[in-house]
Each structure stands twice: as C-alpha cells, then as structure tokens.
Symmetry: C2
Subunit: 292 residues, 2 copies
C-alpha cells in the first residue's frame, strides 16, 4: 500500500494534500482522501478530526465548502476527508441511483455478496486510512481522534463513534454531525442502503448501523455528541433524518444536554451554506476533547 | 427587467439568494448572480462588496469556496457575486477555449462586432446589476460599494476601481485582489482577450483595461488597494499575473504601501485554498472603508 501524492495546496499556513492508494478494504480499487496538516505539526504529532461527507460528495466537498480548515489550523488539529464510497467497482447498477452505490457507501461493511468485495467504507475509514497514514510517517497522533460528518456522513460519524464506545476501542473522543441520518432503519435512504448492502437487510442495519438503536445499548458510558440540523431542511421535513428519534433515545438512556446536544437551527437547509455557518463551532467543540 | 429568485439559502444568519434576469447589457440573455444580505439589513441598508471570480468560474464559486460570507455577516456587509461571462450567446468559437469566451468575459465591454452584442460584463457589473437590485427594493446602499476579485476577476476589480477613480464616479471605495492579472496587455491571457473582444486589439485594452496602465494616469488621487498573490502560483511563475509591474507603476506614481499594498504570500498557489486563507482579511480591509 504505497501512498501517492495527487496534489498539495498550502492553506491557512498548513498543507492540504490529496493522496491516492490501492485500497485493500475496497477490493483493490484506487481510493483518494484529503488530509490537512496544520503548521504546528512541525513541532510534534497533532490530533485528527475525521470528516465524512454526504450522498454524491467526494473527498473534496468538505475541504472546499465546509470552512473547517481555518478553525482547524487555529486549533492545531489535522483534518481527514475520506471519499464517500468506492469508485469504479463496476458492479451492475452501481451508478443508477444517487442514493445508492457510487457516492453512497453509507460507511458500513457490505455483507451482500454482490457488494461485499468493494463496499467496506467502515474498515476503510476506521482502520485502513489510519494505518496507511501511520505507515507513511505522517505527524498524526491517532490516540487523539474525533469524527464528524454531514447527512449520510453524519450517520457515519455517529455510528462509528457509538460503535467505538460499545466495543470499547474508544477510537473517537467526540462526535458531531450536521443534518445526520439519525435513524436509518426507519427512513427511505437507510432502508435502501441496508436492503442493498446487507445480507441481513434492514434488521442487520438496525442492529449494527443505526445511531438511534446503538445509543440504546450504551449503559452509563460518558458520551460527547453535538448535532445541528436546520428546520428548513427538506430532507428533515420529509423524514429522512429523524434527529428527534435519536434525541429521545439519548434522553431515555439518561444522557443530558451536556453529553448529547441536538440543536434545531431555525430556517437553515441541508447544504454547505448551513454547514459552513456552524463549521467553526463544530471544530471548537472537538478541540475541547482532542486537546484535553 | 424582472428579478426572479432561483434559490435561497440561509447562511451565517443572513440570506444568500440566487437571482436570474434577462440582461440587456448581455444582449437579452439570462444572467444569474448571487447576493448575500446579512441579518442586520433588517435595520437599514447595508454596504456592498462585489466579488468577481476568475476564468471558468461562475456566480457560485466565490460564494461556496471563498469563506467570505462569515466575515461579511460579522461586519454587516452584503456580498454580490456576478457570473464571469454571458452564457449561451451562441457565438462561433465561444466554448472552444477555457481562456476566452464562456467563463472568460474579462469584465470589459466588447467592441469587436462579433462579441459586442453580448460580451459587456463591464456594464453588467457596474450599472445593470446595481440598477436591478435597487429597482427591486433590496436593502443595499450603493453609495457604499467596494470590489474584489480573483485572477481574471482581480483584473476586473482593479480596472473597474481605477476607472471609477479616473472618471470621477468613485463608485468603489476600495479594491482588493487575489492573484490578479495585473498587466494584461503584457501577458498571454490578456492578449488573447483584448485581440478577441476589442476592435482596437491590444492597444485598446492597454488604454482602457490594463491596471498597470490605468494607475499611471492617476495623479494625486487617494487610493486603497490590497493585493495578495502566492509565490507557488504557476500562473504567477509563468508571467500571466505580473503584479510586480503594477507595484512598480504604483510606486512610480507616488503610492506608498499604505495606499497600494502588494503582498507575496510564501508557498501559496492560485486556488481557493489560498483565497479562503486570506478571505477574512480582505473583507476586513474593505470594511474599514465601507463602514467609515
């Protein structure tokens, strides 16, 4: 697994580098990611904040439109932007629907044989990219990671975080999300993904990859969760996001609003003009834990 | 000329609206622009900062990638993002070259008959859009305007500003630019544009639309100019930008570094990861004059 530099751009006194490598997790396909390393990494390893983008997005979307790099540079935190799915697996139907297949990997490991060779974004994000970054000697301190994301990527961030609490790995110190798909086994986007990628369908998804179900399994485990969604978000209005279900489950488990904070932002929609508004806020939220 | 709303997005507590209208200046074609109005406009008209984007860009590029909206919202300043050329004029050869035609209007008024019906971005930006915004009753104070831009748009910002000083209209209080084409009659991009759009070719361009030539004509006129370019910018290295020519002309005219400041930013390139790094800085520069 050699890491190849695709491009580098200086930004906010640090460096954003796009890398490419042959991904074992994604069945040998080329995978790309962007990594922002702040200037202070010259003085020692820095913590990492992982950003998972939404449907139809790529490793560039958050880097270009999120307004995260300035705040991260100021806090001295690195940013990792993975892609949203494998690219070019050549599976029949892969490119037919913007909500499934290419650009829509849902940050899970597929168990349906049709998809299981390539669609393993969970392993790709949580294990493979950290390993290849570490092997390349880049100045990232992987004992200090947090994760955030948008929409499908908000679903990814929440489920990867909650799973890391449940399995005891505590890979991520905190999680935040913009407009996350919060209860995917109860919404069309999630149902389509689970039925397609998972041999066990919606039941398997509900068990392994549904934030609202996962938080019900946590018993007296400290958690650090921030969620923002817009009341003007059409996908929220149409029941794709269901943050209220996640919030109710969290409160039922005894999490107060210091540990699990869900904010409804009046009049904002689903896009990056909303995300960038609260981007600095989310980076600062994670900095509290990453620099503790 | 009715103004039609294409989309609206709440951002940083204000509203970014994309508008469409039939543009007389552009020969009757549909033209789009984005306008960000900050929340404080509810209390009265706000000043306007106009952003001109570069080659191949649209009215969306600066709005999405520039990181200008946050600082402008904080300062209580509106932002106008025009397009970079007419769209769909149907002129032969219009779409053959990314450096000329569609996406490359160069913020001038064409005099070559082949282009002169449609390619009048100068009138479009300086007169037509302000008039239609004013006629729509939007809360912009056009007595307080400044202008900035990137690359071809930096050329546009500098030439529109300097022209407004030379003709006494003082339409803009200040100008700034990222990586501007600063001496277009001496670089390939400018030569191509002037030869194509102007009946008088490079000589006409040099006279009317070359920032380095225009500043030589200013006699003891106070000016407020800020320019940033990256030393790692390939277009700078290849002689497309020539900020050193503009700087020399400014100093020869007696402008000191308070009035005309040109900064070489070590290691930065030509793109929006560079621009966004200094975006807030430019907005604050203009706020000094817009809110004076």
């Amino acid at each position: 697994m050699a890491l190849e530099v695709v491009s580098t751009n200086k930004s906010f006194d640090g460096t954003l580098t796009k890398y490419k490598f042959k991904s074992t997790a994604l069945g040998g396909l080329d995978a790309k990611f962007n990594l922002f390393i702040p200037a202070n990494a010259a003085n020692g390893k820095v913590p990492l904040l992982v950003y998972l983008a939404g449907l139809e997005c790529t490793e560039d979307t958050g880097a270009q439109k999120g307004a995260f790099i300035g705040p991260a540079a100021k806090e001295g935190i690195a940013l990792l932007f993975p892609d949203t799915s494998p690219r070019g697996a050549g599976i029949e139907g892969e490119d037919d629907d913007w909500q499934f297949g290419t650009g829509a990997g849902f940050y899970l490991n597929a168990t349906n044989p049709k998809w299981s060779k390539h669609y393993n974004m969970l392993t790709h994000v949580t294990l493979e990219i950290p390993q290849i970054i570490e092997a390349a000697g880049l100045p990232i301190d992987f004992t200090r990671q947090s994760i955030f994301g948008h929409s499908m990527g908000g679903h990814g961030a929440l489920t990867l975080y909650l799973t890391s609490l449940l399995n005891g790995s505590k890979q991520y110190r905190s999680v935040s999300a913009f407009s996350p798909i919060s209860n995917p086994s109860k919404c069309p986007w999630g149902e389509t993904a689970f039925k397609g990628y998972l041999a066990g369908g919606i039941a398997e998804g509900q068990d392994l990859y549904d934030a609202t179900e996962l938080i019900k399994k946590l018993v007296k485990t400290p958690a650090h969760v921030l969620i923002d969604y817009g009341t003007g978000d059409k996908f929220y209005q149409n029941g794709q996001l269901l943050p209220e279900n996640f919030l109710k489950a969290a409160r039922d488990q005894g999490y107060d609003e210091v540990q699990v904070r869900v904010r409804d932002q009046e009049g904002y929609d689903h896009g990056y003009y909303f995300i960038s508004t609260f981007g600095a806020d989310h980076v600062h939220f994670h900095a509290n834990f990453l620099k503790a």
